[in-house]
Symmetry: C2
Subunit: 393 residues, 2 copies
Amino acid sequence: MKIESVDFFYLSMSEVLDIGDGSQDSTLVRVRGGGLEGWGECEASPLPTIASYVCPMSHSACKPVKWAVEGMPLNRVEDIYQITRRVHENCFDLLQSDHTLSGIDIALWDLFGKYAQEPVYKLIGYNKAFPKLPYASQLFGDTPELTFEKAKASRHAGYKAVKFGWGPIGKAGAKTDGDHFRAAREGLGNDLYLMIDIGTVWNEDSDTARQRLDSLKEVNTYWLEEPFANMALGPYKALSVAKPNVPLAAGEGCNNYVQAAAMLDFAGLKYIQIDTGRIGGITSAKRAADHAVRKNITYVNHTFTSHLALSASIQPYAGLEKDIICEYPVEPKSLALDITLNKILPDADGMVRVPDQPGLGMEIDKSRLMEYLVNVEIKVRDEVIYRTPDLLS
Amino acid sequence: MKIESVDFFYLSMSEVLDIGDGSQDSTLVRVRGGGLEGWGECEASPLPTIASYVCPMSHSACKPVKWAVEGMPLNRVEDIYQITRRVHENCFDLLQSDHTLSGIDIALWDLFGKYAQEPVYKLIGYNKAFPKLPYASQLFGDTPELTFEKAKASRHAGYKAVKFGWGPIGKAGAKTDGDHFRAAREGLGNDLYLMIDIGTVWNEDSDTARQRLDSLKEVNTYWLEEPFANMALGPYKALSVAKPNVPLAAGEGCNNYVQAAAMLDFAGLKYIQIDTGRIGGITSAKRAADHAVRKNITYVNHTFTSHLALSASIQPYAGLEKDIICEYPVEPKSLALDITLNKILPDADGMVRVPDQPGLGMEIDKSRLMEYLVNVEIKVRDEVIYRTPDLLS
């Protein structure tokens, strides 16, 4: 078969708040070929992503992403790998293109899995999908008291691992940060995994980070996530050898495999966190997972939105038995929940698994999504080069 | 004063060819404040860049670039640095934003220089602008014979340094590559600097690169540029210690300072090439230049388009006396030449200097540009959020 059409849909809550919650809008991608359709999601700003798909060519290495995708053959797994190579060769001066590729690549795997009647994790080389332990991923409270309440609620909801991130952290001094860390630990109790996510607010400042190491050690954080900007290899490396030792996690900002490889090779990480919706999709995420295995670094998915994105994010390390920790969006907006009819839910043991169904195993709730659809029209030289496609067709 | 308006203009040749020539279109930025205007250029795909400036917010770290810029104060140099921090804090999940920031930052320095009546290189901390030796930057010929003719023509045109890149290189085996390298050297003669640019076509494959080291050494290349993808630190490091030793140059793809720092710290480079129109503008380029000085790595500008971009690209290392090599676009399209009324031309000694004028010292030829202006209109939810502004107003 051939890639017959690629359609981008901009979905959004009616109100988008200035908070660290990436589930408030979505860039959904539908790919069709051979009478089937596959779905993917870019973890990306919708409008620039759409623009990067349809824009006019600037030069041979700055073409619209569609140039590298539409009409291409899709008869074997190798054809999907070839799309990534074509995008990198033809669009590498178009910065947004890796985010755009992500949703397309995910949709291609979903489509090809339906065609081949195999789940994606098998197509990318795993024999078995192992259960993963979901951690609840949530924002710090505005005060330590609210953080404590949120932690207690997560414990009561049955989570065995909880990550707190963003919100006030890193903005009001070491003491306040420490109060939040301790509040989270006290609310969870000592038997749960606690992860701490700084959301890059310390930029490249390893001294500020060092001042928090004692309190991070005191609450026995499972990892310290993104203290610095993505690719700030020097500061990461310096903190990785500082005392007391706190395991570092990072990588969600990597927008291609070579960046992930650089982080794996040089940053001193214990955990690499890959967002399949940003790194270029399942193809590039699997390469990062293979590299992580070689470096003995634990792979963790990064995801914060829909269960379509969740399924896509687990496939690249579904077959890595020892890498059990799994990000799981615990308080997404209704849009993210409404994207799929089915959900990936914890079993009686509190574990989640990718669906043992063809492709990503998720069914899109198209009619439900109509209320979130944002109409977009882009004209260049008075010609319409993008208009929101028909979601229900 | 305040940043009163930021306007993006999409300019293009009427026909854009599928060749490695980035001068075929342009993303021009005009910033106004205090009755003055500054101009900058993003080395970026125009439509996604515009979209990233005006798009709706997705969440707190994925805002439109305009959110971080418009209405901000501009009374001192620190206010410009603050814009970069605001963009990184508020737009870091919007991948295109660094390319977008580049043109804005350049225009802010131009504007502030006009306000302060100082050239930009002085505002960023240099006392003096040293002369630079321009190298002619051109594409390899389609055959070794054509490469030879181009090299001979460059010698006759008076250049003392010539770089060949892209075109057929890396696509037809080590022998053909070697024939092109030798043809370039023979056409130039032994007394000129010759640089070779692979344009990343070897991706991460250091074995392929190693097979060319003998012929690169034979032609005494001054540097080997971008054999691998940007940020492919492992392959760069491996090649940097291979024999025979050929000096490596890279970095044009870095879209922020931390990436440039990673390349400087871990890639084994002898030359770091920074595109001011991609790295986030003069602010981030100067940070990279300072870091290069600390690492004893030579800074070189990367630029391939207008003389506005050329002036912006030299400012960050204008005061580094020993770093004399300067990329100089030798065969740009008419659009790139028509952007400015004045040009930066080699003096009697064949050297170029940044203009000793306020700001970037370049005057925009607005009326001339009308023939290149591409009208764009973007509607979201039936509301026009971008329409090409009036260039002549």
